[in-house]
């Protein structure tokens, strides 16, 4: 299939070729490029979240689209990350402007748990968490719980001890624990959604 280049006169549409070109800029290795793409998207997602965007995922995708388009149009990008950040700032400014044009903040966007199924949710949620924790190995579970057990000074000392025990740096341990927690969160959310859908379905 031959994909035609989008002309500036028409609205640009993300094509496979353009996306491949973008990935090729990230890394010649397709698999590594895919990892880098996910990582950049996560950065953009967090950027928009931390900037207070109400649609961070949309804003992140818009940023990637614009960058991909510029590359597709032949623009030479020497500092891709910095270029992406610059585009993200523009997208955020546009998004903020649109939000200010709407009537105030929607206070209803602050989600609150319904009091009727709060306990049920909590029990179900706890069950899902325990289930997901059991899926970890004993060592993984022990390290994870130990890492997040303490507070304040004891937390810092404990994490130093763990890092020394595992033979890794504190930074490496932090990254590993964060990823493991995110995976655990994802597992719990999926489990909870299944349980909730099942209980609501009943």
């Amino acid at each position: 299939m031959t994909l035609t280049k989008a002309s500036p006169k028409h609205e640009w549409v993300l094509t496979q070729e353009a996306f491949d070109q973008f990935l090729n800029v990230l890394d010649r290795d397709r698999e590594k490029a895919g990892e880098k793409y996910e990582y950049i998207r996560l950065k953009l997602l967090k950027y928009f979240q931390w900037r207070g965007s109400d649609v961070p995922d949309i804003d992140a995708d818009e940023t990637i689209n614009r960058v991909t388009r510029r590359i597709d149009e032949g623009q030479k990008v020497y500092n891709l990350k910095g270029y992406i950040y610059g585009v993200a700032k523009l997208v955020h400014a546009e998004s903020l402007k649109r939000r200010h044009q709407r009537q105030g903040l929607d206070e209803g966007s602050l989600f609150e748990l319904s009091p009727t199924d709060g306990d049920l949710v909590t029990t179900q949620y706890q069950d899902c968490l325990e289930c997901c924790l059991r899926q970890l190995s004993n060592e993984e579970r022990e390290v994870l719980t130990e890492y997040y057990r303490y507070e304040k000074i004891e937390k810092i000392n404990c994490r130093k001890r763990l890092a020394a025990k595992l033979g890794v740096s504190l930074n490496t341990l932090r990254v590993k624990m964060h990823r493991q927690r995110l995976n655990l969160e994802e597992c719990v959310e999926k489990c909870f959604d299944r349980e909730r859908d099942g209980s609501f379905g009943n």
Binding site: P56, L110, L129, K152, E185
Partner: protein, 371 residues
């Protein structure tokens, strides 16, 4: 920054990230943080960790005031933010339960290890203290024994020295006694030969005060030594009668013994009005000496004797060195020229020289010369 984020003590960079997440930082700081985590993956990981810490802090109720409000405005407006807070709360409870239930054995074990560790530390500390105390006591005991032994040996040496000292004293006493005997014998022999002894050298110190024009002639004691003109024993009856006629309250000094007619014994004057001792001096005697009794045993080495008239005029004086013997109660003066003592009343004053060189009066003797 308004308010405080009650999180664990963090470096300034961590606080900057928290401020960024809550939107409390300045625009200029914000862009630098964002550019950093866009370009540096490690910086982005630190931002994720800071976000996680912030969520946990909110779930534990550790945020207050403006921080809590900012967090709710930024993180709870999205379902994803609420989900993360819910997970943080559930995860915290699970971790606590895991500590109490699942990790109880290991906690027990770690507690036991802790307890054993504490006990081990205490045991080591106690053992160290005991070792130190035992070492010190042992050293003190050994030192005490050493000192006792030294004291014992010193005492033995002292007793030994005391014995030797007493032995030496006894030997000294014996020698002194022998020396006294020898001296007595020597004096006797000298008296027998009527030769001037060493004491005669004291005559060279004899001073003639009242007769300065007197010249030393053949009647001088030196010559007298070699050729005495004194009468020899036995005394003639006439001379005896001369002496005996001087009775009636007058003591008559005779020669010390028949073999020493030149020597006259004088007793010390107890009272000023004691009668003088009458001395009959033969006309042919060129010299005489006096044997003086002492109030106590002689203790001086250097003596000085002055002979004065009763009116106080000094006739002559002599000084000499006396070789002392133990318990010596008399002392002999050197020879005195008989011509210095014409018939008349005289007083002899005896002085002894103390250790500081001063002369002190020992006694005075009153006598009367008669021809």
């Amino acid at each position: 920054m308004k308010g405080t984020v009650r999180l664990a003590t963090r470096p300034k960079s961590e606080t900057t990230r928290i401020e960024y997440l809550l939107g409390l930082d300045r625009e200029s700081d914000r862009e630098s943080i964002e550019l950093e985590y866009f370009e540096d993956d490690d910086a982005f990981q630190e931002m994720l960790a800071a976000e996680e810490e912030l969520i946990d802090a909110y779930a534990r109720g550790q945020l207050g005031g403006e921080e809590r409000q900012r967090f709710e405005e930024r993180f709870l407006v999205l379902q994803q933010g609420s989900d993360r807070v819910r997970f943080a709360r559930a995860f915290r409870d699970a971790v606590v339960d895991a500590e109490v239930l699942e990790t109880r054995p290991s906690a027990k074990l770690s507690g036991i290890f802790k307890l054993q560790g504490i006990r081990w530390t205490r045991a080591v500390a106690t053992a160290s203290v005991v070792i130190v105390v035992v070492t010190v006591l042992s050293w003190l005991l050994l030192d005490h024994r050493r000192m006792s032994n030294e004291l014992r040996s010193v005492r033995d040496e002292s007793a030994e020295l005391r014995k030797e000292t007493e032995e030496l004293k006894r030997t000294a006493d014996v020698e002194r006694t022998r020396a006294a005997d020898i001296t007595d014998q020597l004096e006797y022999l000298v008296a027998q030969s009527d030769k001037p002894t060493k004491r005669e050298t004291g005559a060279s110190n004899q001073r003639r005060i009242d007769q300065p024009s007197h010249e030393v002639n053949s009647s001088s004691p030196e010559i007298a030594i070699t050729s005495p003109k004194t009468a020899q024993l036995p005394l003639s009856a006439t001379k005896m009668m001369d002496l005996l006629t001087l009775r009636s309250g007058v003591s008559v000094a005779a020669g010390v013994d028949g073999n020493a007619p030149n020597t006259f014994a004088l007793t010390r004057r107890e009272r000023s009005n004691d009668a003088p001792i009458a001395i009959g001096v033969q006309r042919d005697l060129s010299w005489i000496r006096f044997q003086l009794d002492l109030p106590s045993a002689a203790e001086h080495t250097n003596y000085y004797a002055t002979i004065k008239t009763t009116s106080g005029s000094t006739i002559t004086s002599v000084d000499w060195i006396e070789p002392l013997t133990p318990n010596q109660k008399t002392i002999d003066t050197p020879v005195i020229e008989a011509t210095n003592l014409p018939p008349g009343d005289y007083v002899l004053v005896l002085l002894g020289q103390d250790a500081d060189g001063t002369f002190v009066k020992i006694a005075d003797y009153s006598f009367k010369i008669m021809n």
